[in-house]
């Protein structure tokens, strides 16, 4: 039983370097002395800490949460005492710090007893919304790298109706083997997780996409699917080509469909979830264990013993490096630390950052293998190799020229925002131009200018509203004064100053009328224009309107 596979445009074959870290199998990381848990480890709204310094926390205890739906709570990943809530270096492309809860681990690893567990219903009896709620409270996010809160995604998919559930086990980036290891060790948990997703989403069929360079995982997953009772679920072996694990690319491979530009997979009845997320769901529902650990690959030329470790979130990366036998070189200048794979990962400022929910891989590179010299690259010779490999079928070099010229509108015309930042273009560029960096910069510029435009629009509306309000107030005041004057006149009819023959109401009306006329007569800079100029103004207005509608 097999489906017809499709191809996506471009992509590239890379040296996969996966064997090194796969060989030792899954290892359990020891507890570190200290855990550093950033308040925000997901895409969405920030959490607020629920503990204070000095509090004793237990494994699985919620220590930070938010009322927002698009968020995921943070749990203590072991027992200990909160020793600090402060800004610490976190693994983030910006290299900046964020607020973290630091726990001094006591080594007892005591778990919080879930009181609700004993009282609650059996999992079989839970409704879809109760399942989603449990997933939300467990702090589960998409573990493929995007770290979008899983519960929010599932409930959105549930509302929209899902035809096909796609489980992503492609793991196309070189060096990374955490999903492969996960499928080899937790195949039945992956499949039970799929079962829960099926219960909530009720898809017509489920496809598990795995690249053909993981034969062991494929065999084990197939066996687990057969063994379990999940219906209409198929393990699909897909060819190894980067970036087949990109959501849009995997969808194209498995279904032949393309997610319409600017839309999401839901919109065409598809729902993608990573294999790691499925395991987290199973562990939450069956063992009431929230997301407090994950599998992390440590690999690269610069590490002594590459491998995969199951690690508590918040463990310092230096602790993991020690578990992997340490660096090959002593001088720290001669190596480079990357979180994620070599195609889409980002540099880490040091190994004093913690493992977070998004940490799938730690890559220790030797400095000399970094191809780019920061600040210098050859010029683009327009060879078009970037367009040949672009899986989004963009014209990367045109986008680059426009982004480089700070012509951001034009780079948007070349579909800048359809770029998935997979890095293929930069990886094949003979001039070694850091193309993706240009796109990231251009994207953030565009976002910033959109925000600025939004703010200025809002400010203008406010200003206009204020003007209107002031005018109204002035009129009301005048009206009040007039009434008062009239009342005074009636009281004091002999006042010689008053010209009784003029009706004051009439006079006030006349004044307003005259004022209006003078206002109307006041020349504006748009009067006395030639028809051509008027037409131009009209055009500009139409453009502005169209742009505003598009933004909205």
């Amino acid at each position: 039983m097999s489906i017809k596979l499709h191809e996506f445009h471009g992509g590239m074959h890379t040296e996969d370097h996966k064997a090194e870290s796969l060989a030792p199998g899954l290892q359990q990381a020891t507890l570190p002395a200290q855990l550093t848990l950033p308040l925000k480890q997901h895409i969405g709204d920030s959490n607020k800490p629920l503990v204070t310094i000095g509090d004793r926390v237990l494994r699985g205890q919620v220590i930070a949460d938010s009322s927002s739906l698009i968020s995921a709570p943070i749990h203590a990943s072991s027992s200990g005492v909160v020793s600090g809530i402060s800004a610490q270096p976190i693994p983030h492309p910006s290299g900046q710090c964020d607020v973290c809860i630091v726990i001094d681990v006591d080594g007892k690893d005591e778990s919080i007893e879930s009181q609700s567990q004993s009282q609650s219903k059996k999992i079989e009896d839970l409704s879809a919304s109760e399942l989603i709620d449990k997933i939300h409270r467990a702090g589960i996010v998409g573990l493929g790298g995007a770290v979008f809160p899983a519960a929010a995604k599932i409930s959105r998919g549930d509302n929209l109706g899902i035809k096909t559930l796609i489980i992503n086990g492609a793991e196309c980036e070189p060096y990374i083997t955490c999903d492969d290891t996960l499928m080899q060790n937790y195949a039945s948990e992956v499949v039970s997780g799929i079962g829960y997703l099926q219960r909530i989403l009720k898809p017509e069929n489920t496809l598990i996409g795995i690249e053909d360079n993981k034969p062991v995982a494929i065999k084990l997953m197939q066996a687990a699917v057969i063994e379990s009772a999940v219906a209409k679920t198929e393990v699909i072996t897909i060819p190894t080509i980067y970036p087949s694990g990109g959501e849009k690319q995997l969808i194209k491979i498995l279904t032949g469909k393309e997610v319409p530009a600017g839309k999401l997979a839901f919109d065409i009845g598809l729902f993608c979830q990573n294999v790691g997320t499925c395991v987290a769901i199973t562990q939450t529902l069956e063992q009431s264990q929230p997301l407090i650990s994950r599998i992390v690959t440590i690999s690269g030329d610069g590490i002594q013993q590459p491998g995969n470790w199951e690690v508590r979130l918040g463990t310092p990366i230096s602790h993991l490096i020690n578990l992997a036998g340490g660096y090959k070189r002593n001088q720290s200048e001669s190596q480079h630390l990357v979180m994620g794979g070599p195609m889409m990962g980002f540099s880490l400022p040091s190994d004093h950052v913690p493992v977070v929910k998004a940490t799938n891989n730690i890559l220790v590179m030797l400095q000399e293998t970094i191809p780019f010299t920061p600040g210098y690259h050859d010029e683009c010779i327009r060879c078009g190799k970037c367009a040949d490999v672009c899986p989004a079928q963009l014209l990367p070099q045109q986008m680059y020229w426009e982004a480089r010229a700070k012509n951001y509108e034009r780079s948007e015309e070349y579909h800048l925002f359809d770029c998935i930042e997979c890095g293929c273009c930069a990886a094949v560029c003979p001039s070694q131009i850091p193309l993706v960096q240009y796109y990231r910069a251009a994207k953030s510029e565009v976002r910033a200018s959109r925000q600025a435009l939004f703010r200025s629009d809002r400010a203008r509306l406010r200003f206009e509203f204020r003007e209107q309000r002031l005018l109204l107030k002035k009129q009301q005041d005048e009206e009040r004064r007039r009434i008062k004057r009239e009342a005074l006149q009636k009281k004091n009819p002999k006042n010689p100053d008053t010209k009784t023959e003029v009706d004051p109401v009439q006079a006030a009306l006349e004044r307003v009328k005259a004022k209006k006329q003078s206002q109307a007569a006041e020349p504006k800079n748009t009067t006395n224009l030639t028809p051509a100029q008027l037409e131009k103004i009209e055009e500009a207005d139409a453009r502005r309107r169209a742009a505003r509608e598009q933004r909205e």
């Binding site: 070599p342 990962g345 327009r382 367009a387």
Partner: protein
């Protein structure tokens, strides 16, 4: 850890800019060897002079523009441009002709626009066309292949000739029009193709010697395709564009028109298709655009050859197509992933 934050991807390209240029140079070798074999050391002297001048001009221009000199000189782009330029010249061209041509190639054709990657026109063709228009006599003084003339210049003779130490008259007997020139002259004299081809300069496919040189370019072109230095679109489109006209004309009037094969193996059509039109900087960059661009060059070459004022039209055709490349690119953008358009 290094404090330098480098952006992903952390992967070296399989082909660097320099590697691409070296591939082109490797591709040029078989044709160049054939060229030297048939026409003597004069060809080699041209190439060496051109490369030397080009590197000097490049270095001066980079110095004036405050650019790093070493990385740009060693990317070999100047060598490729100079080599291609030198191949366009008649063998044993005087040194000053090479100097002027290369000056225009490197300065006006390349650096005035901002250097490698910014030039809208193929620099080698710019230099060549400037010479062609300014020095028509020098640029049309070609020599018979040594197999026909029986004479051959030694390397020293060639050098002496290029630098003006030897008497020019001495070798004037060797000079001759190129086969394409003769064909063109024949056409204007209303001669039938069969009569024109009586001349000893014509071989089986093209001109004597020239057909072998074209074969050399073809081998080099195949290497460029196999090594993935270029995509197939442009060369194939150039040849198809030329053949559409050549075959059409030949069928309609086989008496006066040369065979399509003659067109293919004469002049610089093969080197033009594989080495000159494929200069990525000045060509169209979308695959659909490359086909239009290549077809345009192929057709223009035939038009200029048959009805224009010059015996061969590769340089003009390429420059005209260069002008259109940005326009072609804009209107041949590929359909992006997830686009709602059926096909753009």
């Amino acid at each position: 850890m290094t404090s330098v934050m480098v952006s992903s991807p952390y992967v070296s390209p399989s082909k660097s800019l320099r590697q691409l240029m070296i591939n082109v140079i490797i591709g040029l070798i078989p044709g160049t060897l054939a060229y030297i074999w048939f026409f003597g050391y004069g060809v080699m002297v041209n190439i060496i002079l051109a490369i030397a001048f080009a590197l000097i001009f490049e270095a001066i221009a980079l110095k004036l523009r405050d650019k790093p000199i070493r990385p740009h000189l060693t990317d070999f782009s100047a060598v490729v441009a100079a080599w291609l330029f030198a191949l366009c010249l008649p063998m044993n061209s005087p040194w000053w002709l090479v100097l002027i041509g290369i000056g225009f190639t490197m300065i006006a054709g390349k650096h005035l626009y901002g250097g490698l990657g910014f030039n809208p026109f193929n620099p080698a063709m710019v230099g060549y066309v400037v010479l062609l228009i300014s020095f028509p006599k020098e640029m049309t003084t070609w020599y018979l292949p040594e197999v026909i003339s029986g004479d051959s210049l030694s390397l020293l003779d060639s050098l002496a000739y290029s630098f003006g130490f030897a008497d020019i008259q001495q070798w004037d007997a060797l000079s001759s029009a190129t086969p394409l020139d003769q064909y063109k002259t024949g056409l204007t004299q209303d001669l039938a193709a069969s009569e024109i081809f009586q001349s000893p300069v014509f071989g089986t496919l093209g001109g004597v010697g020239w057909e072998w040189i074209a074969g050399g370019w073809l081998i080099g072109g195949a290497w460029l395709l196999i090594s993935r230095t270029i995509n197939w679109h442009i060369p194939v489109a150039v040849l198809v564009g030329l053949l559409i006209f050549a075959i059409g004309e030949y069928i309609s009037d086989p008496g006066t028109r040369a065979s399509p094969l003659f067109h293919l193996f004469s002049g610089s059509i093969i080197i033009g298709a594989f080495f000159i039109a494929t200069d990525p900087v000045t060509a169209a960059t979308t695959n659909k655009g490359r086909i239009i661009y290549g077809m345009m060059i192929g057709m223009l070459i035939y038009i200029i050859r048959s009805w224009g004022g010059y015996p061969d039209g590769v340089a003009f055709a390429v420059l005209l197509a260069n002008m259109c490349a940005p326009f072609i690119d804009y209107y041949t953008q590929p359909r992006i992933y997830g686009s709602q358009d059926k096909d753009e």
